[in-house]
């Protein structure tokens, strides 16, 4: 029987620091056959093993287009992530996945695409932003609104700069608390919604960030007239197994790992009814 708990071995090809507590790890599966078979879509996640430290779930933060490596952007925050951040290029880890469902793509063709990210909530959105931008002719417009606590907490600085200059994409940034040298917007990410023109009935929005940010942004979006189906988010939970067995990620009648992690606001509301 196929053992879904058995990790594939992967090597760290590159480590790129993002902020003082986050970094992007570029991984490549060691076995060429497994490498070829590892096909994923934006929104999916993997269970990453740092052998000896344990296993934890991380969203894949790069587009799978045209490359045989993939990125995991990881904040140093616990046992597994501390151990991962100690590792350098050439280090070996274990990977299970890709797991979970993915962001809709074909389904939102022709729409105005809005991304709202908070802090490290930009990690799961990046592959979708990259894929949507690559095929931008298929969409009406692309807007990225991104906020972090301070300028030092902004991740993907290089990409943010590119996105701000690229044609065919609008990208606005904000920070909750400014700092010396910061001349951009100050305020929560929701305030950026007032700074862009959005054709709400023909738009979908992908939201990801800390729970409190999601709550407020969803309120703002609902106020603007976004339907519950047009607000799409990806949830995070303490997913131990990633395949709907251990039950750690259960919310109401759903497993985040298996039924998600991508949910519409309508689905999320229905799940949360049994939690709050």
């Amino acid at each position: 029987m196929n053992n879904p708990y058995l990790p594939k071995i992967a090597s760290i090809r590159k480590v790129k620091p993002e902020t003082y507590d986050t970094a992007t790890f570029t991984l490549q599966l060691d076995d060429p056959t497994e490498r070829k078979a590892f096909q994923y879509r934006p929104g999916q996640f993997v269970e990453l093993s740092v052998f000896g430290a344990g296993e934890a779930p991380f969203c894949i933060s790069s587009s799978g287009h045209g490359r045989d490596t993939f990125d995991l952007s990881v904040r140093k925050v616990g046992c597994v992530t501390d151990a991962l951040h100690e590792m350098g290029e050439g280090g070996q880890v274990g990977v299970r996945g890709p797991l979970g469902n993915s962001f809709p793509f074909e389904e939102v063709e022709g729409k105005h695409i809005l991304f709202v990210g908070g802090g490290i909530g930009l990690f799961p959105l990046r592959p979708q932003i990259e894929d949507v931008y690559r095929e931008r002719d298929r969409f009406a417009s692309i807007t990225v609104l991104y906020g972090a606590r301070t300028p030092d907490d902004l991740v993907y600085r290089d990409e943010l700069e590119e996105w701000q200059q690229q044609e065919g994409m609008t990208c606005l940034l904000t920070v909750d608390v400014g700092a010396e040298g910061w001349t951009g917007n100050v305020g929560v990410v929701g305030t950026l919604l007032q700074k862009v023109e959005i054709d709400v009935p023909n738009a979908v929005v992908f939201v990801c960030g800390p729970p409190i940010m999601i709550r407020f942004v969803v309120q703002d979006l609902s106020g603007m007239g976004f339907g519950e189906e047009a607000i799409i988010t990806t949830l995070e939970r303490h997913m131990r197994c990633g395949i709907g067995k251990c039950n750690h990620c259960m919310i109401g009648d759903k497993w985040v790992c298996k039924d998600g992690p991508v949910f519409t606001y309508r689905q999320m509301k229905a799940m949360m009814e049994f939690e709050e």
Partner: protein, 346 residues
């Protein structure tokens, strides 16, 4: 697949034959009164007259602590999966516990089968033993479609009649086992089958006060109509000891940890309990269910909501009564279902 009679004087021979090709797990008296399911070394150890076992069969299919992987980090990482390929016969299992295994099958099987569980399960034969009277005052299988007699879920179901065990066949595996031992068995007569149905009806009437009105609670839980105070009141009582989850035949959550000795390591899984404060807590410190009432609600929702019953093929309480026996705070299944129904914990 017709029923047989196994005369009482041939039972030991039947069990001896079972033991030749498999590990036989049966109810055994451990102390004067305590009965646990455990491997037997002779047919005489089976406590045929027992009431209920202190623990369900869960730990034999999902051990409390189990090695999933072995790995070495010496000169390139190598990982190997563990596999338990023991043949087992579970003999004399109470109907509630057989039903519990059915719920585990739904949870651990499905479209992503768990290889550790399934490896054990596929090598298991289950011989149920019906209850001729309510074995314990805490039993409420009659409220849960899980006993005292079963109509499915077993390989064989044995009922003690004066002339021997009536052996009902519930699967191909159960039939094959009967065929292999046909020299010990006789075909059952129609009046013996009739006796079985009379005994089942009489047994049902011996169940006591521990009614659990699952259906009423299920409706309110599933429709989100439970008075929030019920969870607060239940939380005031519950001490979060986790006893109910460990004793429950269908509480099967686990957590995973790595353990190292030099360059050699194992990945183990352990039973976990959704009632524990740290169960859903994330590395960031965020806890989606910070209050005990939140966790109790999540547990009962998973147990008996329509939503999860639909996913698992039935609701997950089998009425074994172990949470009643084990809870020191009166926050067990019948107490909470009654609380849900009345809108207040009494």
């Amino acid at each position: 697949m017709t029923a047989r009679i196994l005369p009482h004087e041939r039972i030991d021979e039947f069990v001896t034959r079972l033991m030749q090709s498999a590990e036989v797990v049966a109810p055994r008296r451990v102390e004067v009164a305590d009965v646990f399911y455990g491997p037997i070394s002779s047919p005489g150890e089976v406590a045929w007259d027992y009431g209920t076992a202190i623990e369900p069969l869960k730990r034999f299919l999902l051990p409390q602590r189990e090695t999933m992987l072995r790995f070495s980090t010496n000169g390139g990482i190598k990982v190997e999966a563990e596999c338990d390929e023991r043949e087992r016969v579970f003999l004399g299992v109470r109907c509630c516990d057989v039903t519990g295994v059915g719920v585990m099958d739904a949870m651990y099987g499905g479209d992503t089968p768990d290889p550790y569980y399934m490896s054990r399960r596929e090598r298991s034969t289950i011989i149920a033993l019906t209850c001729l009277q309510a074995p314990d005052e805490t039993c409420f299988c009659v409220c849960c479609d899980a006993g005292p007699f079963l109509t499915k879920g077993y390989d064989q179901q044995w009922t003690s009649l004066p002339e021997g065990m009536l052996v009902e066949i519930g699967s191909e595996r159960g039939e094959a086992l009967a065929r292999a031992n046909e020299d010990l068995l006789a075909p059952a007569e129609l009046d013996q089958i009739a006796t079985r149905y009379r005994l089942a009806r009489e047994a049902e009437e011996t169940f006591g006060d521990f009614k659990s009105y699952i259906a009423g609670a299920m409706r309110k839980l599933s429709m989100n109509e439970v008075d929030p105070e019920v969870w607060e009141q239940a939380a005031m009582r519950c001490t979060e000891c986790g006893g109910c989850t460990y004793l429950c035949p269908t509480c099967v959550c686990f957590t995973v940890t790595d353990r190292m000795n030099g360059s050699q390591g194992v990945r183990e899984r352990h039973w976990d309990a959704c009632l524990n404060n740290c169960y859903a807590r994330e590395a960031s410190g965020h806890n989606p269910r910070p209050e005990r009432g939140d966790r109790l609600r999540a547990r009962f929702f998973h147990k008996i909501s329509h939503q999860w019953a639909e996913r698992n093929g039935r609701q997950a309480c089998v009425g074994c009564g172990r949470c009643v026996a084990g809870c020191m705070a009166w926050a067990h299944m019948p107490a909470v279902t009654e609380g849900i129904r009345r809108g207040v914990m009494t």
